[in-house]
């Protein structure tokens, strides 16, 4: 089953304006469900397609700023997300309850801002790159379906 939803550039522009003026309040995706992917899609704008794999679905969001987000859904749980693009997606939206602990997590060494990893017993966030080229991903360690290969968790 393939569902596609497109927003016109004008609507995406309005969406960007709305995002700019008010913080998104929709439930966010990592750890969320199919409904939260839909609300991500609405909040972030762009198009939404679904790829089916053995045992899970990959929801591909193509966002207005050339950003690609892939959300991995198994059963009722988004167990992983990945992103790439010239700019970063709205990680507060995408990481949801994991965003604040990710941001607040202490930095190990130095002040280099081209690489960031936060690892906990329950979840991992990894992000690298520079302005004009960002790559990143996050996953819930205990929610990975059998047979899922982290090497395939990427949006680039």
């Amino acid at each position: 089953m393939m569902s596609t939803r497109c927003l016109s550039p004008a609507l995406a522009w309005l969406g960007a304006l709305a995002l700019c003026m008010a913080a998104p309040s929709a439930p966010a995706s990592l750890g969320g469900n199919a409904a939260s992917i839909a609300s991500d899609s609405t909040a972030l704008g762009g198009t939404h397609t679904i790829e089916r794999a053995a045992g899970w679905e990959v929801h591909v969001l193509r966002l207005p700023f050339g950003v690609v987000v892939r959300e991995y859904l198994h059963g009722e749980t988004v167990f992983a997300v990945a992103w790439s693009g010239r700019t970063l997606p709205n990680l507060r939206q995408l990481l949801g309850t994991y965003f604040e602990p990710y941001v607040e997590s202490p930095r190990a060494h130095g002040a280099h801002h081209h690489r960031r990893e936060v690892t906990t017993p329950d979840w991992v966030v990894q992000s690298v790159g520079h302005h004009g080229g960002f790559l990143g991903r996050a996953w819930l360690r205990n929610a990975l379906p059998a047979g899922f290969d982290l090497e395939t968790l990427r949006a680039w």
């Binding site: 003026m21 050339g66 010239r86 280099h112 081209h114």
Partner: protein, 397 residues
């Protein structure tokens, strides 16, 4: 409509790291100018506690005047474009004119992987060594009580302090000219970088390319087709300070010829080339002086533990080889060493390491960070600029 010339005094504290002078840039002798600025690797400004970070010194002046300030410890970054200064190091009496659209000031939100810089765009005459970029749009990081729009700020923490940036400012000298380009000049903008703010309300703004925060090199009167980062070779155990050169221009003077350097052209969207390492095709690879280490995937190398998790800690130093392949299909075999990070960091004073490695966080890339730059001349050629090696964008070494 864009208007300039309204002078807004940033409410800032004078701080260390800068000194105000009444000596503006020289009018500029006809002919050869000094195209060599210092390139220094050290512990950084107070609170930075930096390592593998390369700095230079800039003089910024109120446009068309001799009211200037010299600021040291500006990080040199081949992975971004444009000059950003932490607002607290600016002398308030500089009174740089803020960029305006009508009666609304222009702000920028500039993203890094884990943080962002937010603040107004101002214009300044910007001088490195004998080179000047007149009325250059620059980014004042911080210096505003207006909150950053969530569309941009929802990537991490605000990084508008010297401690957070690890520098008094940063100068991006990558292959780009404007830091956003046509994405921010189109209607509606295709990137969430620029805003105009009225009171506390900010809305996305269309900003013409020439009014965006811009790589100063591209605005020099000469030596404006790229840069060379030159750092001397250092001892594998590390060095306390390293002094080299940030040279402007490629093949424009006797000190910046390509020589034997090989040219790797890059993809003009993301700046990537391909690194082939251990049979892996790493197609999102880059050379970046703003990254500290060799950042690459090798599951056979022992990783460090505890607070050095992510760094490599081999029992003895490894000599490795990778091949970099440009979009032009030129291949450059490159050897590098990876030492034990625990051992390197056991020095209380060393800040420069040519053999520091980190494990790539995800598949598909090799980041050639500052470790790679020691003992080399690394060239970055600006997109569409003519050089003796052909037009940019490219890296060469």
């Amino acid at each position: 409509m864009l208007t300039r010339g309204l002078t807004v005094s940033f409410l800032l504290l004078a701080a260390c790291g800068g000194q105000k002078s009444e000596n503006g840039p020289d009018a500029g002798d006809a002919g050869v100018v000094n195209n060599t600025a210092p390139l220094l690797v050290d512990i950084g400004p107070p609170e930075a506690d930096a390592y593998n970070t390369a700095y230079t010194t800039v003089t910024i002046c109120r446009p068309g005047t001799n009211v200037c300030q010299t600021i040291d410890h500006i990080q040199v970054d081949t992975g971004s474009s444009g000059l950003r200064i932490i607002s607290t190091v600016l002398d308030p009496s500089l009174m740089l004119p803020q960029e305006m659209q009508g009666s609304s000031p222009v702000f920028e939100c500039y993203q890094y992987v884990d943080s962002f810089n937010w603040g107004p765009v101002a214009t300044a005459d910007v001088q490195f060594a004998g080179e000047t970029a007149a009325a250059l749009p620059i980014h004042i990081a911080g210096g505003t009580t207006t909150a950053a729009p969530s569309d941009c700020s929802s990537v991490g923490s605000e990084g508008d302090t010297v401690a957070s940036l690890g520098a008094n400012g940063i100068v991006g000298v990558d292959q780009e000219t404007a830091d956003c380009g046509s994405d921010c000049a189109s209607t509606p903008p295709a990137s969430p970088d620029y805003y105009t703010c009225t009171g506390a309300t900010c809305t996305p703004a269309v900003v013409a390319i020439e009014d965006q925060v811009t790589n100063p090199v591209s605005r020099f009167a000469q030596d404006n087709n790229g840069v060379v980062l030159q750092l001397p070779a250092i001892d594998p155990s590390g060095a306390v300070t390293v002094t080299g050169s940030l040279i402007f221009g490629i093949g424009t003077q006797s000190n910046n010829g390509l020589g034997e350097a090989q040219i790797l052209t890059i993809d003009d969207v993301n700046g990537y080339f391909t690194t082939v390492f251990n049979g892996q095709m790493l197609t999102s690879s880059y050379i970046d002086s703003g990254t500290d280490s060799y950042d690459f995937p090798d599951s056979t190398i022992t990783q460090c533990t505890d607070d050095l998790e992510g760094f490599y800690c081999p029992a003895s130093t490894l000599s490795l080889t990778a091949t970099n392949v440009g979009m032009n299909q030129v291949s450059v075999m490159t050897t590098f060493s990876i030492a034990n990070t625990n051992t390197l960091f056991s020095s209380a004073t060393d800040t420069a390491f040519n053999d520091l490695g980190t494990t790539a966080l995800m598949p598909g890339y090799f980041g050639w960070g500052l470790s790679f730059f020691f003992g080399r001349s690394v060239f970055t050629a600006i997109t569409n600029a003519n050089t003796p090696g052909g037009p940019g964008p490219y890296f060469a070494y």
